[in-house]
């Protein structure tokens, strides 16, 4: 291992046992019966959990990491990206010695601190002061070190007034601030960070990002940073690893890896789901919605819905009477994954709709020229009025996923949780 390499990973693999699936029982009786009958089976199953061999090909073995190889130079800030389940967290857990690799080897030169979570070991009964010491010690700081840094930690957190109050009386924001303040004052040579920036409000996030910049730029520290936030990855890291299904598919300069990742990511599977059963519907049923489909401009059904793409929503209806479009009024309210309304598509909002004649009476199409939604899961509530009476309404009639895409052609992917669900087409000039 040459002197300027901080982390050297060779042939690293990690397997887990999955398939510890409990059989479901309908009654307490059958549950107890099978439980009594099968202690031996239970024993074998639980024992198997810890029994992973190096060349395991059993169907219940899951290789979370396969043959990963990379080096991290001293002072380098390395980003790790990949979809959920790609193996990012497992990699960090192996590097921070929480779990042992099944195969392969890691050599680390320098003191490591890992932040897979902020506030590990925070105890609600203890005061802020006591928790700073406990959490600091868990992260590997010595008491002496904490005594020296204590005032800075408290100042950074901004909870001076409550430092002797039990943490259970804190707001969740205060807890996170205090926890991050402890973490930010770690002074290791190698820092491993997993998505901790996803917590806290925007102002605090900026503060943390600033602190991280300071860490990596100033002290020549080696930082490994996992995030789904491509803006943070691009802002902080110079080199990136891209993991997919446990394998390292690409590594290199951040901007090129991020664009590779975004291109792949946009091809995520479409998870459209229609829920048109009668249970959650109201209305007199004169006209009813029969089906909804997402089509592209050519009328072909879409498998993936991406931000910024033109989308045509087809709504099929059925009725015993001949449907007269002039008497029809359809509202579709789009909700985000938090069940907050994002916007409504309505026939009433289109001044031309009621002028159209010769419309195929049992099918409506709603055209969206450029889908202004950020990556998230969405659902649609439908209200269909016919002759001014509620004819059909469906709560969460359709669920669909919008995949992130390079909407602005800048590599900056809007994130719903951070930037909001709506993407504005906009431009800037100096005036």
């Amino acid at each position: 291992m040459t002197s300027d390499v901080a982390i050297k990973v060779t042939g690293l693999s990690k397997a887990y046992r999955i398939g510890l699936k409990e059989s479901q029982h309908d009654t307490l009786g059958s549950a107890i019966a099978s439980w009594i009958k099968s202690p031996i089976k239970n024993y074998q199953r639980v024992k198997r959990l810890a029994d992973v061999r190096e060349t395991d090909t059993d169907p219940d073995t899951f290789w979370a990491l396969r043959n990963i190889e990379f080096d991290v130079k001293e002072g380098e800030v390395l980003g790790i990206i990949g979809k959920n389940g790609a193996g990012k967290s497992t990699l960090l857990k192996v590097l921070s010695r929480i779990t042992e690799p099944t195969r392969g080897r890691v050599e680390i030169c320098g003191r490591v601190a890992s932040l897979l979570e902020v506030g590990t070991g925070f105890n609600p009964e203890l005061t802020g002061r006591e928790n700073v010491y406990l959490n600091g010690a868990i992260l590997g700081m010595r008491k002496r070190e904490l005594d020296v840094k204590f005032d800075n930690i408290v100042a950074f957190s901004g909870v001076e007034k409550f430092i002797d109050t039990p943490v259970k009386r804190y707001s969740s924001g205060m807890k996170v601030r205090l926890a991050f303040a402890v973490a930010a004052h770690l002074d290791p040579e190698i820092l491993i960070i997993d998505e901790v920036l996803a917590v806290g409000d925007a102002e605090f996030q900026r503060k943390c990002l600033g602190k991280m910049h300071e860490l990596s730029a100033g002290g020549g520290r080696t930082v490994l940073f996992v995030s789904h936030d491509m803006t943070a990855i691009q802002g902080l890291t110079s080199r990136c690893l891209y993991l997919h299904n446990g394998s390292l598919v690409a590594q290199g300069e951040t901007s090129s890896i991020v664009s590779t990742y975004l291109a792949d990511y946009s091809d995520a599977e479409f998870t459209g789901h229609f829920n048109l059963d009668m249970a959650n519907r109201r209305g007199d049923g004169t006209v009813m919605i029969e089906g909804v489909s997402f089509c592209d401009v050519n009328g072909n059904a879409m498998t993936t819905i991406r931000s910024g793409e033109p989308v045509r929503l087809h709504i099929k209806m059925k009725s015993a009477v001949k449907i007269n479009p002039q008497s029809l009024q359809l509202d579709m309210r789009i909700m985000n994954s938090m069940r907050h309304a994002v916007g409504t598509l309505s026939t009433r909002f289109d001044k031309d709709f009621y002028l159209i004649s010769g419309l195929p009476a049992n099918c409506l199409a709603c055209e969206i020229p450029s889908l202004p939604l950020a990556e998230d899961d969405y659902s649609i509530d439908f209200w269909l009025n016919y002759n001014n009476g509620l004819s059909d309404s469906i709560s969460e009639g359709v669920r669909f996923r919008v995949s992130g895409a390079d909407f602005f052609q800048t590599g900056q992917m809007p994130v719903a949780t951070k930037h909001g669900n709506v993407i504005f087409t906009h431009s800037w000039k100096s005036s």
Partner: protein, 278 residues
């Protein structure tokens, strides 16, 4: 400053335990012990008094049920002090074992997120529960003066007995915690096995009864159960007319050392998989 070099690989066999690392993390042990002590009596009205109430009630019940009603012999010593000298180390052993055995389960959220020597986790109760023992020791002191068992030079044996007691408890605690994280059965087993173990130890009866009924060989073999030597030793330390049977206590010392070694080895062997099976 010399940078430490760490190699992460799948460990084969037991390897060498990094005691130096444990020493480096001693502050964490300290803060976790402090956490346990601080949190235990938070938001309770009687607070530390609970450390007394528990043994007082046990001494009362044992004195009435075993001392008076059942007429269990007590080597001619007043039953309250006879049982109190046994209940204190026993309560320590039982409480620590329950806490230590389930310690990995209750601290799962910590050790699956941060690396530190896992051995600290089952060791925390070994120290935090000792504070309870120290507090309740005042009860024994009060009884000593009440029954005119004034302190003698024999009290000096207590640190040795305490060490023995801690070693045995720590050994079992490490062993059970390592098993419990994978097999939760241990957790349920503890709740009824520990009270049973009390009747196997000379808490309500004197060890001399064993000597009398089963002979000398069995008496010494019996002392391999470390709590036997600890309890009899505690009695001899505080009650003037009781004598130390040193060879028997040495047997208990062997038992404690064996438990500690086995506990440490089992913990070490299973340690690497804790995060995967938790």
């Amino acid at each position: 400053m010399e940078k430490p070099r760490i190699v992460i690989e799948r460990r084969r066999g037991l390897g060498r335990y990094q005691f130096s690392e444990l020493v480096r993390y001693r502050d964490l042990l300290y803060f976790m012990v402090l956490r346990d002590i601080t949190v235990l009596y938070k938001q309770s009205v009687l607070g530390l008094a609970w450390a007394f109430i528990n043994p007082i009630v046990s001494v009362l019940i044992f004195s009435v049920v075993f001392g008076t009603l059942a007429g269990v012999p007590s080597d001619g010593i007043p039953y309250p002090i006879f049982s109190c000298a046994a209940i204190l180390p026993w309560n320590y052993f039982a409480n620590t074992l329950n806490a230590s055995g389930t310690s990995l389960i209750t601290n799962t959220s910590i050790f699956t997120k941060v690396y530190f020597p896992r051995l600290i986790i089952p060791l925390v109760p070994v120290f935090s529960k000792f504070v309870d023992l120290l507090i309740s020791f005042l009860l024994l002191v009060a009884l000593m003066f009440y029954y005119e068992c004034y302190p003698t030079v024999k009290l000096l044996a207590l640190p040795v007995l305490v060490l023995l007691m801690m070693m045995a408890t720590a050994g079992l605690g490490m062993w059970l915690s390592a098993l419990a994280i994978q097999y939760r059965d241990v957790k349920f087993g503890l709740t009824f096995v520990v009270p049973l173990m009390m009747y196997a130890a000379p808490v309500v009866f004197p060890a001399s009864l064993i000597l009398e009924k089963f002979g000398e060989i069995f008496f010494y073999a019996y002392h391999l159960y470390p709590m036997v030597g600890v309890i009899e030793g505690f009695r001899a330390a505080v009650i003037p007319q009781q004598v130390f049977v040193w060879p028997a206590i040495a047997m208990s010392g062997c038992g404690a050392a064996a438990l500690f070694t086995i506990g440490l080895m089992v913990f070490r062997k299973l340690e690497s998989r804790f995060a995967d099976v938790a």
